[in-house]
């Protein structure tokens, strides 16, 4: 059984490598390389997978998931400039892909083997763009 919790955060970013010229950054990242930054309302979907507990009927108390997302993502990311305020994006380009991988790292350790496991991160940057990440090992087998 899979359960998904959504959350939103609004952040600014610049997609550019500091070791590249502005021209090279514009060529690869387009308008997203604007050095002044720009922002998005990101929508995060966190999907956990596991069997419902026979007593409580829950895969995981959604309040627990909500608190983890709040501590690991919303508090550090919401209304921040990712490049300036949220490591590792002072060194890693905050593309949607890289943000999704960072969110996986932050969330996955809260759901170790033996309980509900992190199954997918879906991160919407705009209404017309999202990425899906199933972790560095690829898609986990359903339990």
């Amino acid at each position: 059984m899979r359960i998904t919790r959504k959350a939103e955060f609004s952040s600014a970013h610049v997609c550019a490598r500091p070791d590249w010229s502005e021209e090279q950054n514009r060529r690869v990242f387009g308008e997203a390389a604007n050095p002044h930054g720009h922002g998005h309302n990101y929508i995060l979907e966190v999907t956990l997978e596991g069997p419902p507990d026979p007593v409580t009927g829950m895969v995981l108390d959604l309040k627990t998931l909500k608190d983890v997302i709040n501590d690991e993502v919303i508090e550090p990311f919401d209304h921040k400039h990712l490049n300036h305020e949220v490591p590792p994006f002072n060194q890693v380009v905050p593309t949607t892909e890289n943000i999704a991988r960072e969110l996986w790292k932050r969330l996955d350790r809260h759901f170790p083997e033996g309980g509900a496991r992190l199954q997918r991160i879906r991160l919407w940057e705009t209404q017309d763009l999202y990425v899906d990440y199933h972790g560095p090992a690829g898609r986990r087998e359903a339990s």
Binding site: C15, R17, V28, F29, G30, V92, V93, P94, T95, T96, E97, N98, A100, R101, Q127, D128, L129, Y130, V131, D132, Y133, H134, G138
Partner: protein, 142 residues
């Protein structure tokens, strides 16, 4: 591996009708979708690419290149058109159900995918069309 999905939008009309069926059979089979002059939708097209993240750029796919491919291979041809009369794949025997539109778009994108992104580049993973808020059609491409 990571999947990047980009949404595109096009508006088109179509009519579900099989020439070899009688009027009654067509009406029974397709209902309101058989209405004689066609009807239309705001289609949302999702194109999903799967690949490794380029560690230098943090990107899986060059999105402007994908946009240009979808624009030239699909949208230019289908947006603001009557599929039954203006898109060659649907002017003969193939009914422009959204299933068939999905397959047509898959063929068009696959035909140009490798020349556009290279053999080692990201793969075309999935195509989904949201026809209305209640209907979605999806096919895996790998």
């Amino acid at each position: 591996m990571l999947e990047v999905t980009r949404r595109y939008h096009f508006s088109a009309s179509h009519r579900l009708h099989v020439d070899s069926f009688s009027d009654d059979e067509n009406l029974r089979m397709f209902g309101k979708c058989n209405s004689p002059f066609g009807h239309g939708h705001n289609y949302t097209l999702e194109v999903t690419a799967r690949g490794d993240v380029d560690e230098a750029t943090g990107l899986v796919i060059d999105q402007p290149v994908l946009n240009e491919l979808v624009e030239s291979a699909v949208l230019r041809d289908m947006d603001m058109k009557y599929l039954n009369e203006q898109v060659p794949a649907f002017t003969q025997a193939v009914v422009p159900t959204t299933e068939n539109v999905v397959n047509e778009i898959r063929q068009r994108l696959q035909a140009r995918w490798v020349e556009t992104f290279g053999a080692a580049g990201p793969k075309l993973a999935r195509i989904r069309i949201i026809e209305t808020r209640k209907n979605e059609f999806e096919v895996s491409c790998d």
